[in-house]
């Protein structure tokens, strides 16, 4: 059998053979196949020897314990074999970009492990290391302002950052205690994490250096002084409090070279060859939009109420240049108080608030997420506390032609284009008008119904008379107008059908498959649209009813 741990560390995966029957001696039973080359590659890996040494060490240690030879135990422990995964990281990712491309899983895993309780599911050191690396990465994202998209899903919070042009997506769980499942092999996860922490550490190092930041990160001196707690009052261990201060995400980091204050060097523009002026223009525009997006929250001061998840919100707000603070008792690193008059946005997640300070918006946390995804500060009216929130859409979906687009997305797109911002109020007014119209119509309908009834009665009478008088009736023939367009269409579709008949077998199969997929897509989109329509009408009727009830 193939050592599982080695496969995980070296990134060896099974391959699907081209001719399964040939390889599997004529049977098609599912089996996993590794390339012989890969296995040979595993064999002369130096870390194999280290693993063996470690195994021997464990055996000796156990023996020494069994014999109560404490001296031997000490000696063995002193000489505990260690191994490093640096060369494997380098080997698997020969360039830095390769490493960035594979960072998704590493980040998600580190964030998951950093939330584990320190109760023996895995080593405490691993958990601490994961936490440290995750916090370091978050700090880097803040410093480089590379966050692009965020999404509150029912599974956790998704983030997408763009680092050196590579989109990196990771998910963090909501901060609750884990219900540890029994059907999960933690050893496998720990092996993965071992590799991922090594990878993430090196990546962090490189990223920090690319921004001229000190690694391991240090809080900027000036901010550090502010943050220093009163001597020995709250925290016993300095090292621990340092990580906590870092994870508060509220202070900027120290740089190797003091940054030239706020004068960004204007980038010289080099026209790329083979690029038209139009393309250049669009590129420039995109660049400008990106810059604007990065500075979205600049100048805004946020305050997070204590029921709001602090870390994600602080991270997001800081990523887009906003200032953020929270209650002092909640976490270290609060920079200003709730009563600060300069606060512009107060993030709150309770149904009602007794006393509201003047001069700030009280908003639900979804506003921050939606604004980031919309790349603009959205109108605040929909996000007041206690208000029914508009749906939270996924920023990762880009609708192609023919896909279903939820109406909220359309509205958002219109907003982004800068079209009628107060469409809402108009709509409501319209609705009111409509209601009125409806009433009139209803009355009208009543009248018209009466008329119709009269007509029907007349008709029936006539019919009976006619039946009595003439049993056979000649009806006037209808002039059938031949719709030229329709005829043409029919002809074309027939031609197509005939042509399809002449397709080769393989092509026909492919064609049918493609068409089936297309049809299924259309069907799904239609289903969603119909569902939405039904829901909207139901909501409208409910509204009308409640309105009537109120009026009555």
């Amino acid at each position: 059998t193939i050592p599982r741990r080695l496969c995980i560390l070296k990134g060896i995966y099974p391959h699907e053979p081209k001719h399964k029957k040939k390889v599997n001696k004529g049977s098609t039973a599912p089996r996993t196949f590794y390339l012989l080359k890969d296995i040979k590659f595993l064999l002369h890996e130096p870390i194999v020897n280290k693993f063996r040494e470690y195994k021997v060490f464990v055996r000796k240690l156990r023996k020494a314990y069994g014999k109560s030879e404490w001296g031997t135990v000490d000696r063995l422990k002193d000489n505990k074999p260690t191994y490093k995964l640096d060369h494997i990281v380098k080997e698997r990712y020969p360039t830095f970009i390769d490493a960035l491309r594979d960072l998704d899983d590493a980040l998600s895993m580190c964030f998951l492990f950093s939330t584990f309780p320190r109760t023996g599911k895995c080593h405490v050191q691993t958990i601490q290391l994961c936490r440290r690396l995750a916090v370091e990465f978050l700090n880097y994202v803040i410093a480089s302002r590379s966050l692009r998209k965020v999404f509150l899903s029912i599974k956790g919070i998704y983030y997408q950052a763009e680092v050196l042009g590579q989109p990196i997506t990771w998910i963090t769980p909501y901060t609750f205690a884990h219900d540890h499942p029994t059907d999960v092999d933690y050893r496998v996860m720990a092996t993965f994490t071992e590799f991922y922490t090594t990878l993430l550490g090196f990546v962090n190092f490189r990223l920090y250096h690319s921004l001229n930041l000190v690694y391991p990160p240090k809080i900027d001196g000036q901010a550090d002084a502010e943050l220093k707690p009163v001597e020995g009052k709250e925290y016993a261990m300095d090292s621990e409090s340092y990580l906590e201060k870092l994870s508060a995400l509220s202070a900027s980091l120290a740089r190797v070279v003091a940054p030239a204050h706020e004068d960004e060097v204007e980038m010289d523009e080099f026209p790329v060859e083979g690029e038209t002026a139009e393309q250049m223009d669009t590129r420039k525009k995109e660049q400008e939009a990106l810059e604007k997006h990065k500075k979205m929250f600049e100048g805004l001061r946020f305050f997070l109420n204590r029921e709001v998840p602090r870390e994600p919100l602080a991270f997001i707000i800081r990523c887009f240049g906003g200032q953020v603070s929270w209650d002092k008792s909640l976490c270290i690193g609060a920079t200003y108080d709730a009563s600060d008059p300069s606060i512009t946005h107060h993030i709150i997640d309770r149904p009602r608030l007794e006393q509201q300070a003047v001069g700030r918006c009280y908003l639900q946390p979804q506003w921050v997420f939606d604004s980031v995804n919309a790349k603009m500060c959205l109108p605040v009216a929909d996000y007041f506390p206690g208000v029914l929130l508009p749906p939270h859409l996924s920023p990762f979906v880009t609708e192609q032609e023919g896909d279903y687009v939820p109406p909220e997305k359309l509205k958002l797109l219109a907003l982004q284009r800068g079209e009628n911002p107060d469409e809402e109020s108009e709509e409501e007014e319209e609705e009111d008008e409509e209601d009125d119209n409806d009433k009139e119509e209803e009355e009208d309908e009543d009248e018209s119904e009466k008329e119709e009834e009269m007509k029907l009665k007349k008709m029936e009478e006539q019919k009976t008379q006619n039946n009595k008088a003439l049993p056979v009736k000649v009806t006037a023939g209808k002039l059938r107008l031949e719709d030229k367009k329709r005829l043409e269409q029919e002809q074309q579709s027939e031609e197509k059908r005939l042509a399809i008949m002449m397709m080769k077998k393989r092509e026909k199969y492919l064609y049918k498959k493609i068409m089936f997929g297309k049809k299924r897509k259309v069907r799904e989109a239609n289903k969603l649209a119909a569902k939405r329509k039904a829901h909207d009408t139901a909501v409208k009727e409910e509204k009308k009813k409640s309105k009537k009830a109120r009026r009555a």
């Binding site: 699907e16 998951l112 509150l152 599974k155 769980p173 749906p391 829901h535």
Partner: protein
């Protein structure tokens, strides 16, 4: 003798010893005094109220305890109370005991000039220890042998450094080019949001369906949910599992590069000439010939194109006028008509009808009187040869009654006849018998009333036979092959593989170089005899079994009728130069026949001169499309 106590009157001493006093629970006494008299329990008639009053009034209540041995109440003295209090505080019982007396060192830390003991030093303190020597030598040996290693120096190189400082392009090995990176996790859609648009939430039925599905089959691995605000969102219970599954995928899933086809489906449709440019061909149903009461199996048309003959399962053969759809004549034959063929020679008016075990040669007596009179004369001019030859069949002249109906000759076979077909000259005709022997195919000469069986051995179940229109070739279709025989040289010239399971019918292009075969597995094979023995094209137009195929004699058209009730007319252009392959374009799907008993169209036939097509169906009608 009274004991010496301060108050001897009150002193009652119990002599029961150290026993559980519960043993005396049920007795009026509690033990025995020194004299052996019973000690009675003191009378306790106080109820709770009395107890309470005593508790309130008696100042010594708190220091009164009950003596368990005697049952009497004892008031503790001050000394006793103090003792209890001291013990409770954890102090010594004796008031006068001082636990903190100054310690007096027995030995001083100062070195004195006098030894404590005056014992002389041992010998072992002067000579080196053997035990130690042994131990040291063991250690030395272990160090020498490399069993004990010196402590490793602490590795103080930094854990993290710039790993990619020197990115050399040579380090990108072949492995990395072959490496298949794991696909990224699918990004979440709107339905995963904690507050999705209402249309993404599952309705009750959908939820039920979701629950009943296998976990692997589900499109979503979660049920979309809606929460009013962020604080109501709970932890996702399967978060760790999902991460774990991802890990498993990463190291256990086989990876394979798959080429995604990214074609526009419109590009796959072959570019064919438009049917409009390939006219004429039949497009609409023009006439329906009604009269048969059962399925019409076979059709044939006179060479002039004026008369149509159809044979049906109701045991009749009907002659129709093509233009008017009038039934001119009905000929009861008393059996299922399997096959029918009008003599292609325009000077002879004769129809061959395959009924059960015989082939009838019928003069329909339609059209030009001279013509059919001449035919009768031709048949009567037969002179029997002198010597009787052995024939596989019997030639019988019709009885007078039959003669009046039109039947002229009857060729009686030994088995049921499946098919009859004429040679182009109109003298020879071939019949197929459903038999498994070598006598399946018979060739008859009508003018000499002479038959022969051309094959010595059977090559399988013969489905259809055909004469080449111009050259002395004879085509025999068995279940899977079509054999081409040269009648002059009497040898097999070609064997065509049809690639079908079961050939049902066969037709030949009037040019004689192309053959089409219809098969029961709904395929139509077009053979170019000059090209190869395999089909030039295999058309799968029909959804069900093909029953018959036909070529037009003049126009480049061929047609196929099938059990799915449709007739498909195709344009089949054959070019004269050998370099250009035939062009096959389906031009029209004709529908009209009602499917009865799972059968649709049974026979198709082109008009000899017009671009018209006849089809006979299981619904008992014959239809003409023009």
């Amino acid at each position: 003798p009274s004991p010496v106590f301060s108050c001897p009157l009150q002193d009652i001493r119990n002599t029961v010893g150290n026993i559980p006093m519960e043993w005396y629970q049920d007795f009026p006494h509690i033990g025995y005094n020194l004299d052996g008299k019973k000690i009675y329990k003191p009378i306790r008639n106080k109820d709770e109220l009395d107890m309470f009053l005593e508790k309130m009034e008696n100042p010594d209540y708190w220091r009164t305890v009950q003596d368990r041995m005697t049952g009497a109440d004892v008031r503790l003295t001050d000394e006793q109370v103090q003792l209890v209090q001291r013990l409770q505080r954890g102090q010594f019982g004796d008031v006068h005991f001082n636990p903190y007396e100054p310690a007096v060192d027995f030995f001083t830390h100062e070195v004195m000039i006098h030894p404590v003991t005056n014992r002389p030093a041992d010998k072992r303190s002067f000579i080196p220890s053997l035990l130690e020597k042994e131990k040291v030598s063991k250690l030395v040996h272990a160090i020498k042998m490399g069993w004990i290693k010196p402590r490793k120096p602490k590795d103080d190189s930094p854990t993290y450094y710039d790993l990619w400082a020197h990115e050399d392009p040579n380090s990108i090995l072949g492995r990395h080019k072959m490496h298949v990176p794991a696909p990224k996790m699918k990004l979440p859609g709107h339905e995963e949001s904690y507050n999705p648009p209402p249309e993404y939430l599952l309705s009750e039925e959908e939820k039920l369906a979701w629950e009943q599905q296998e976990a692997a089959e589900r499109k979503l691995n979660f049920v979309p949910q809606r929460f009013g605000s962020l604080r109501q969102v709970p932890a996702y219970p399967r978060f760790i599992q999902e991460r774990f599954e991802r890990c498993l995928d990463l190291y256990l899933c086989p990876r394979q590069r798959k080429m995604r086809v990214n074609v526009d489906p419109e590009d796959l449709i072959p570019k064919l000439p438009k049917p409009r440019d390939l006219q004429p061909f039949p497009t609409t149903q023009a006439l329906i010939y009604r009269g048969h009461s059962s399925l019409v199996r076979c059709l044939s048309i006179s060479p002039s194109g004026q008369w149509l003959v159809s044979g049906s399962d109701d045991g009749t053969v009907r002659f129709w006028e093509v233009c008017t759809a009038r039934c001119m004549k009905t000929l009861p034959v008393g059996g299922v008509v399997k096959s029918i063929a009008w003599n292609p020679n325009p000077t002879i008016c004769l129809v061959a009808i395959g009924v059960e075990q015989s082939v009838l040669l019928v003069n329909p007596c339609l059209g030009d009187k001279l013509l059919y009179g001449a035919t009768d004369q031709l048949l009567e001019s037969y002179v029997a040869p002198e010597e009787e030859r052995v024939q596989p069949v019997q030639w019988v002249t019709a009885t007078t009654e039959e003669h009046s109906r039109g039947v002229r000759l009857v060729i009686q076979h030994s088995k049921a006849v499946k098919q009859v077909t004429w040679h182009g000259k109109g003298d020879y005709l071939a019949s197929v018998v459903s038999d498994n022997s070598s006598m399946q195919v018979l060739i008859h000469q009508s003018s000499k009333r002479w038959s022969q069986s051309p094959f010595r051995r059977s090559k399988g179940l013969v489905q259809a036979v055909l004469f080449h229109p111009t050259r002395p070739y004879f085509f025999v279709a068995t279940q899977r092959y079509v054999r081409v025989y040269n009648l002059l040289k009497q040898e097999l010239t070609k064997k065509l593989m049809t690639n079908c399971k079961w050939v049902s019918s066969m037709a030949i292009h009037p040019g004689g170089d192309n053959i089409i075969c219809g098969s029961y597995d709904s395929k139509l094979a077009w053979f170019d005899l000059d090209l190869s023995t395999r089909p030039y094209q295999l058309l799968r137009h029909h959804k069900r079994a093909l029953r018959s195929v036909a070529f037009h004699r003049r126009y480049p058209l061929f047609a196929s009728g099938s059990d799915d009730g449709s007739v498909i007319v195709c344009h089949g252009m054959v070019y004269n130069d050998l370099l250009q392959n035939p062009l096959l374009v389906p031009v029209k799907v004709l529908k009209g026949h009602v499917i009865t008993l799972d059968l649709g169209v049974l026979d198709v036939l082109f008009h000899p001169t017009q671009p018209w097509i006849f089809s006979s169906g299981a619904d008992g009608t014959v239809r003409l499309y023009t």
